[in-house]
Symmetry: C2
Subunit: 390 residues, 2 copies
C-alpha cells in the first residue's frame, strides 16, 4: 500500500525543509511526531522521517506492515537508523536536529545517543515555519474542509429545539459534522492542550474561566476536561456560540458563528457587529510583510474606540490573542498577539476570532479561516456572519 503524497508534492515539502536546514547550518533532521510525519509524507506512520540538507530523505517505518515506497525502510528501533544509513553508503550527519519542543526529554536523549550527538539541536522551529506557509495542495485541502464545515453549519438551526441543553445541542452538532465527513480528531500542539470536537457555549457559561489557552472557556462537564458546555438549558436571551472542529481532510478550518434564542441584548448585538467589522478591516489590513502584532493592535484599537475592552476576548479571564495559524493542527504559526514576532507571509492560513463575552447574555462574535493572499485575506469559511436566531 502506498499512502504517501504524490511525488511532486512530497519533493516540494522535503526541499523546503532541506533548504531551511542549509540556512541554519544543519546537516539533517529526524522527525518523529505524528503531525510532522503527516506534513512531510501525507500519511501517519509509526517511525521516523530523515531529511538531509542535500534534500535526500528516508522513511524509517516501525508500523504498519506493508507500506510500499522507494524511500521506506523498516526498523524495530531508532538505534538501527545510523547503522542502516552507513550500510547504504550515506555519510552520517554531524549536526542532526530533533523536534525538541515536541518529543519527551527521554526520547530526545535516546535519539541523540543513537546518532552520537553531544549537543542537542532543535528542529521544532524549522518545521513550524515550513508548515506555516501552505502549499497549493494544502490550501485545496483546507478549502475542502471549509466547504464541508459550512455545509454542516447550515444544519445547526434544524437540530435545535426549545428546552435543549448546550450539551445536547453540541452532541447533535458533533453527529452532523461527523456524518458530513468530519474526522473528529482535533490535532493541537502544546503539551497541555487538548480538546474534543469543539465547543458550544451558551449564556454565562461562556465566561467560566478554563485552564486551556483557548479564546473562550466554559466550565465543561467534568473536572477532568474543564472546557466548553456544562449541561445548562439554553434559555431565551442567551447567546449560543458555536465553534466546532472543521477537520474534514486532515487539515482543519476554524469557524465560529453565534446565535441567539428568541431575543438578543443590544450590547451583545453591537459587540457582534464590531466583531464582523474587525474581520472586514483586517481582511484588507493583513498582507504579506505586515507584522502579526500590528493586526492585534489594529483590532484592539477598534475595540477600545468602541468602548468594548471590558468584554473583549473574555470578561473574567481574557485570552491573549485574536488569531492563529491553522492547518494540520489548530494552533499553528503565525500567532496574532501583542508580543508576536511573526510576520504574515503569502499562503499563511489563519483563523481570526475577535470575540466578546457580555455578562448576562454570553459570548458573541465570529471566527473565520483565511488564506493570506498578495492583496489581503481570502475567506474559506463562507457562511452568513450575522447574529441569527436559533
Amino acid at each position: 500500500m502506498n499512502k504517501f503524497l504524490p511525488a511532486e508534492e512530497l519533493g516540494l515539502r522535503v526541499s523546503r525543509i532541506s533548504g531551511m536546514l542549509r540556512e541554519k547550518g544543519l546537516d539533517a533532521v529526524l522527525i518523529s511526531t505524528n503531525a510532522n510525519i503527516y506534513y512531510v509524507t501525507g500519511y501517519v506512520f509509526s517511525g521516523y522521517v530523515y531529511i538531509t540538507a542535500e534534500g535526500d530523505y528516508v522513511f524509517f517505518v516501525r508500523r504498519p506492515v506493508g507500506l510500499e515506497h522507494e524511500k521506506a525502510v523498516y526498523i524495530r528501533k531508532p538505534e538501527q537508523i545510523a547503522e542502516l544509513l552507513e550500510k547504504s553508503g550515506k555519510k552520517l550527519p554531524e549536526k542532526i536536529a530533533f523536534e525538541l519542543d515536541r518529543i519527551p526529554y527521554s526520547a530526545a536523549l535516546r535519539l541523540s545517543a543513537a546518532f552520537s550527538q553531544k549537543t542537542l539541536l532543535n528542529s521544532s522551529d524549522i518545521l513550524s515555519k515550513a508548515r506555516a506557509v501552505k502549499t497549493a495542495y494544502e490550501i485545496e485541502k483546507l478549502k475542502k474542509s471549509g466547504i464541508h464545515h459550512c455545509m454542516s453549519y447550515y444544519r445547526i438551526s434544524g437540530v435545535f429545539h426549545e428546552g435543549m441543553t448546550d450539551r445536547e445541542l453540541q452532541i447533535e452538532l458533533e453527529r452532523l459534522l461527523r456524518l458530513d465527513g468530519c474526522l473528529g480528531q482535533f490535532r493541537i500542539a502544546g503539551e497541555s492542550m487538548e480538546l474534543f470536537m469543539g465547543n458550544v457555549l451558551a449564556g454565562d457559561n461562556a465566561d467560566y474561566p478554563c485552564p486551556y489557552d483557548f479564546a473562550m472557556g466554559g466550565e465543561g462537564l467534568d473536572e477532568s476536561l474543564p472546557v466548553g458546555c456544562n449541561g445548562s438549558i439554553i434559555r431565551p436571551g442567551n447567546s449560543v456560540m458555536i465553534d466546532m472542529n472543521g477537520n474534514f481532510t486532515g487539515y482543519m478550518t476554524d469557524m465560529t458563528r453565534t446565535f441567539y434564542v428568541q431575543y438578543a441584548d443590544i450590547k451583545a448585538k453591537a459587540a457582534h457587529k464590531l466583531s464582523i467589522e474587525i474581520h472586514k478591516a483586517l481582511a484588507s489590513f493583513i498582507k504579506p510583510g505586515v507584522e502579526a502584532k500590528s493586526a492585534y493592535e489594529y483590532a484592539k484599537k477598534m475595540v477600545d474606540d468602541a468602548g468594548f475592552s471590558d468584554y473583549f476576548m473574555g470578561h473574567r479571564q481574557k485570552a491573549g490573542f485574536i488569531g492563529h495559524g491553522v492547518g494540520i493542527e489548530v494552533n499553528e504559526l503565525p500567532v496574532i498577539a501583542p508580543r508576536s514576532k511573526d510576520i504574515f507571509e503569502e499562503n499563511n492560513v489563519i483563523a481570526i476570532e475577535p470575540k466578546f463575552v457580555i455578562p448576562g447574555t454570553g459570548a458573541v462574535g465570529i471566527e473565520n479561516t483565511y488564506v493570506v493572499g498578495k492583496d489581503g485575506l481570502e475567506c474559506i469559511t463562507n457562511f452568513p456572519e450575522e447574529l441569527a436566531e436559533l
Copy 2:
C-alpha cells in the same frame, strides 16, 4: 471555585507519591502534565503540582483565574516557583524530579534551570506506578463508567440498519455514548498515540494494519488518522467489533463486544468462544503477586492449543499484548505482554482483550475491564459476552 478532590483523597494520593520519593531518595517532584495533575488534584489546571518527600505540596496555577484552595498559588511562569518557595520559608529541593518521559525536551531543560538542577531526574516511573494501583475513590469512578458504558452498549442493536456503513454505525454509537454522558476525550499516553472515540471494525477492514499500537487496526477514513472504520458497507457474514470509549467520569473503562450480521462463520464463532474462555481462565489466574507476563503466556498457550495462533491479536499485523491498565488514560500499567516486568497488585484496574482476526469474516473476541482483587478479577463491564446478531 474549589474543583479539587476531597481533602482526604487528595492527602492519600500526595502521601503515596511522597512515600515513593523517599524510597527513591528524591526530595521533590514537579508535575506539569494534564493527566498527572488530574490524578493528584482531581482537576485539570494549567500549571504545576509540587510535592515534597515530606508530604508537603503546593499547586502553582497559571490558569484558570479564580481557583480557591489553601494550597493554590498563582504564577505566570515556572521560574517563579523556586523564588516563591524560598519566600514562604521552604527549603529548596536538592533533588527534584520531572516527568521526563512525558514533557518535551525544551520544557524539561527550562524546569531544571528554574531549580538550578545539574542532573535531570525522572519522576515518570513514580507517577505511573502510583496511578496503577487505584484508590477506592477511583474504583468508584471506574465502576460508574462501566455502568454507563454497558447502558450505551445495550442500545447498539437499536441503531443498526441494513446497508449501513461501519462509519455510520460508529457515528450513531458516538452519539449514544455522548448522550449517556461520555466525555468524548480519550486520554492516551505515548508521544505517537492518538484515537478519537473508539473503533467499529467490520469485516476484513479489521485486518488492515495501522500505525498505532492498538490491539486491532483498521484502515481509517483518511491518511491523517489511519485507524478504525473505513466507510465500508457492513455485509452479511461480517463480524462487527465494537470497541468504543467508556470515559464517563474522567476514568475510562475499556470494553469490546462483537456482533455478526445474518450469519457467522464457524471458525469465527469458535475463536470468539475461545476469547470468552480465556477471560474466564484469567479471571481466576490473575491475583496480586502474579507476573503479568505469565498471564500473557497462559492465554497464548490456550490459543496455541486450540490452533488459533495465526489469527490471535491480528493476522497481517499482530499486537504484542493482550491487556493493559486503564484509568485516567487508556494505556496505564500493568502491561500484559511477553516481556512485561509488571506484577499484578491489588486494585490494579486492567483491560483484557484476547481478540482474533478471521480473514473473510473480521475481528472477534471480547474485552472487559477488571479490578484485581485478593482472589481474582472483578469484572466492571458486565454486558453479555456471546457473539450476537446485530
